[in-house]
Each structure stands twice: as C-alpha cells, then as structure tokens.
Amino acid sequence: MYSFFKRFLGAMALLGLSTQSYAESGGLDEAISRIFEPIANPIVNVIFYSVPIGGVQFPLIVGWLVICGLVATIFFRFIQFRGFKHAIDLVRGRYSKPGDAGEVSHFQALTTALSGTVGLGNIAGVAVAVSIGGAGATFWMILAGLLGMASKFTECILGQKYRNELPGGKVSGGPMYYLERGLREERNMGGLGKVFAVIFAICCIGGALGGGNMFQANQAYSQIVNVTGGDESFWVGKGWLFGLLMAIVVGSVIIGGIKSIGRVTEKLIPTMAGLYFIAGMIIIVVNIDMVGWAFGEIFRGAFTGEGVVGGVLGALIQGFRRAAFSNEAGIGSAAIAHSAARTSEPVSEGFVALLEPFIDTVVICTMTALVIIISGALLTDLTGVELTSAAYATVLPWFPIVLAVAVVLFALSTMFAWSYYGLKSWTYLVGEGKAKENAYNFVFCLFIIIGASMSLGPVIDFSDSMLFAMAIPNIIGIYLLLPVVKRELNKYWAKIESGEIQKVK
C-alpha cells in the first residue's frame, strides 16, 4: 500500500501536479539506506582498518593485495613479462592440438573471463579513482595492474590444479577447493585450510552481493537517471523500481532458468566493450596533442600528489583500490571462473589469466583515465559513471546514451558472473540442491533492489569491503601454496623445452 502511494506521488510529479514530491518519492530509498547503513558501516570499518602513514589513512588491505602481487612477481621472476609472449601464443591457438577443437579454447576462456571483469570497474571505478586521487592515481592503477598479473597467474593455476570434477562432467573449483585440499595435501594443514575455505566462501557470498551486485545496480541506475534528464528524470528517487526491473531480468535467468536472456546479454558484452574501446580511442586520437600532457599529469600527480587529499599516498591508495576492484587479482574470483575451463595443462590457464589484468587495467582503465583527464571533466565535481559519461560527451555528445546501455549490460553480465561465484561458495558451504540454490538466488535478486536504492557512498564502501575480505584467506593460501605453483611451472617449462608441448602453428 505504501509503495503504491509512493508510486502515485511519483506519477503526480511526472505530470507536474506536485513540485514538492521529489524528496518525498525518495523516501523509500532513504528508508532502505537507513536500515542498511548501520550494518554496512561496522563491516567497512573492520575490513578497511587503516593506519596513519605520514598523515594519511592507509587501509592495510590495499597493501595486502599489492604485496601479494609483488611477492608473486619476485617469486616467479617477473613472469608477467617473461611469459607475456607465451600467453599471447596460447591465446592465438599456437599450442592448441587438433584434438582440442570442440573444447573451450584459450581465447574463449580469456574473453569469457574478461566479460566478467571488464565492466563498471573500468568505467565508474576509474572515474572514482581520478576524481578523488587525481590524475596520478592512474599511474598507481597501472602499477597495481602489472603486479596483479602475477597474482592472477598464481591463483588460476591453483584453481585449475585443485578443481573438483563432479560425476556428469561438471567442474567446481576456486579458492574454497585449493585452500581446503591444497593446504591439506601439501602443507598438512587440513584444519586451517578448511577454516580458510569457509571464511573465503562467506566473504565471496558477501562480495557477490556487494561489488558483484549492489555496486553494479547502483551505477547502472545512476547512469539511467543521468541520460533520461538528470534531476528532471522520471527515474529520480525510483531506484527501487529500477532495481526491481533488474532483479526480474536477473531472476528470470538464475531462478527461472531462462538461459537465453543470459546468453544474449553475455554475447552483447564483447560488442559493447569494443564500442567503448573504439570511442575512447577516437577521443584520444582527436586530442592526440594533449596525450603527452595527460601522461605528464599522470606522472606528476603520481609523485607529487598535488591537490590531492593525502598527497602521493592519497593518489596511490585510490589507484590501488580501484585497480584491485577492477581486475579482481588476488581476490580469488578469477580462480572460480577459470577452473570451469578444461585444459590438460593447469599452468597454461595461468598464462592466459595473466593477460586479464593487463587488458582490464593497463589498457582499458588507462584509456578511460586518459579520456577523463583530456576532457577536463575532472575539474567538475562529478564522480563515478557520471564523470566518465561527461568526459566522453565532450567529444561524442551522443555517447552517454550508448554508455547507459553499456552500463546496464555490463552490470547485468557482472551480476551473472558474480551470482555464479557466490552460488559456488554457497553450495560449497551448504551443499548442492535446487532449494538451497534458489534461496541464495532469491537473496541475490533482493540485493539488486537494495543496491539501486542507496546512495553511492555506502554502496561502494560496503561492496569494496566484502570483495577485499575475500583476499585475506585467499592470499594466505596463495603464499602457502607458492611452492606448488613453482613446481607446476617448472614442470611445464620443462615440457616446452623438451618439445613435449609443441607449437602446432
């Protein structure tokens, strides 16, 4: 009844019968935010426990992720550079045997995994990073992306090595499995492994509901409001309605089993990503004379931190945070995605996965940042997807509409990907079963509505905190299992050198 009344008021506002009902129609949204924030804030405070370094609050978790990338980089002696060409060769199919035809190719594994990570992080996340951390945040984002390549390499090899093949050929894999089995078999730490696996699974469910869901719904909603007239839009204050529509689409796929919707959405993603990339390149080419200056700003900002709260560290923290959110390296989600692909060599999957942070962060995020810096939109007080949208509109005025479609599609595809990660974690905890799976799926859809109803601040903080929380057990596991990966890697290189694995083309 209450919601009907609100809808009625909204309709009145639309007809211009009431000029006052803006704030009123936002009442329901505010109510949801009010209930949610007291729960979200304590979680955020724990995960982002910060220590003051040189007068800036430094969240320890950000350091945790970057150090993992650094350790993996050094441990595998810069595998992201040494193995880069090999990774490209794998994706080009130069090592694919004729018998592999009909199975998932490396190219397909890469593009599918990318469609799960390329998305709002690249559009909205970058905008958040540069609007708070200044141009210099881009530099630290690129650095974090390069280090993330080594983390992802490691976790995807582990995900492949310790995956579970169920009768019927379906596979389940991911940090839950390598934490449990890997630590038991390799380190004789079965108990600890099990505890880590359970913690990871719980955090993954939280991350799926947060970053993989609420953040997506929120940003998609904000972009829709933006292109349908801003403050005048029909959608103002109707986040719940937008959320409901998204929830129906997602629900029809994950609960109703209407797979075709999911497939259509996922197949539109490469087109959208391509369009986004081409548009970005056009803007950069049009302003080619400013590219040098923009890179200058990026480097200057990175080491002077001029005009940024917290100076260099402020820029660094923002850059690192957004990079981690965008490419998910060290978080463990990619390990779940990659363990679904079938390959005779777990290590080759790691090489392919190593390209993801490169494409996602080093290429696409940098491009977004360049467009924002060049356009001068950084001087406005916009943030999130609105900033990116405004930046693109300076050269391509119609682009916000394309971006709105892209944002909704990206949001949907990321939701599908994360609903799967969360579901795998849920079934790891409670076991497989239709009723159990649907209970999770229902909650997942509910959170879409909540996410679309809240203002950006609490959503971003909560989704960040849950997503980053996954990294705690995952990275401890990675450290403990590094020797396993090293052994596998050495075996793999030996096979290549001996000619057992040969280039076919």
């Binding site: 199919g93 694919s96 004729p98 035809a101 009909g102 199975e103 998932v104 190719s105 490396h106 190219f107 397909q108 594994a109 593009t111 599918t112 469609s115 799960g116 019927g168 050929g169 379906k170 596979v171 797979k259 999911g262 497939r263 996922e266 197949k267 993603i269 490469p270 995605a337 679904a340 692909a341 079938r342 599908f416 990907a417 799967y420």
Partner: protein, 143 residues
C-alpha cells in the same frame, strides 16, 4: 590412380548425391571412400560462461550423436562391399577437408552443391567455392 575419395558429408541431399557419386567412382577404380563429418566450430567465437561450463559434456554428446548419425550409412555401404572409413571432426569444413587431403596420398575431394539458383551463385562463401580455392587435390562438385 586415385586411392581415396574424401567425401564431405552433413546428411543433406546434396551430400548424399556426392557420396553416391564417390562410391560409384571408387568401385570402378577399386579405391577407398573416406567419409568426413565436420561439426562447425571456431575457437574464436564468444561463449557465455554457462556454455563454457557445459562445453566438455556437450562435445562428448555432439560427437556421439554425429557418430550415431553416420554409422548406419557407413555400415550399409561397407556391407555392400565398399572400402569405407569415416571420421567426425570439429572445425572449419574447408580446412578440415584440405588437412585430410594433405595427409592422404592420391586423394580427391567430393562435395555436394546445394543451390542452383542465381542467388546461391552469389553466395561465394560456400564450402565448394572455398575448397576450389584452397584444396591441395582435385575437387569434384556434385550438383
């Protein structure tokens, strides 16, 4: 002397005609027939994560049903005294047929041609056309 007649076969009428013709040629020259059934497949086609997870199972299923489909045809000809072998492959039809032809000495490729209308003549991308362009051995197009 041709030793092997390679026939691209997908079960259509055109392919059946090609097979019949190849069989009669093979009989005259006491050569063998090699039946190839290609399941169109590209490693660069985008795949949703759902499809990716089911892929291995689906491949097994597809291969099994393809084999089940050509098995009776091969069996019937074998019983009729034709020296016939078969295989099921994933990939691009033209590439697969050319690949097999390269390995088999003294072979020829037989494929059917579906269309006879003016419109279908415009569709240059057909298997027959691309085989003519790239085959290492003589190609026979059976109308």
């Amino acid at each position: 002397m041709v030793k092997t007649f390679i026939v691209g076969f997908d079960g259509t009428d055109a392919c059946q005609r090609a097979l019949d013709f190849a069989v009669s040629c093979a009989k005259h020259q006491s050569a063998a027939v090699h039946l190839v059934h290609v399941l169109e497949w590209s490693p660069y086609k985008f795949m949703s994560s759902e499809e990716m997870r089911e892929r291995h199972e689906r491949k097994k299923h597809e291969v099994a049903s393809a084999e089940k489909f050509i098995e009776p045809i091969v069996e019937k000809l074998r019983n009729a005294g034709v020296d016939i072998t078969s295989e099921v492959q994933y990939g691009n039809t033209t590439e697969i047929l050319c690949g097999i032809a390269k390995e088999k000495l003294d072979s020829q490729i037989f494929v059917g041609r579906k269309g006879s209308s003016k419109l279908s003549k415009l569709l240059v991308g057909s298997v027959g056309m691309s085989l003519i362009q790239s085959s290492p051995v003589p190609v026979t197009l059976v109308p």
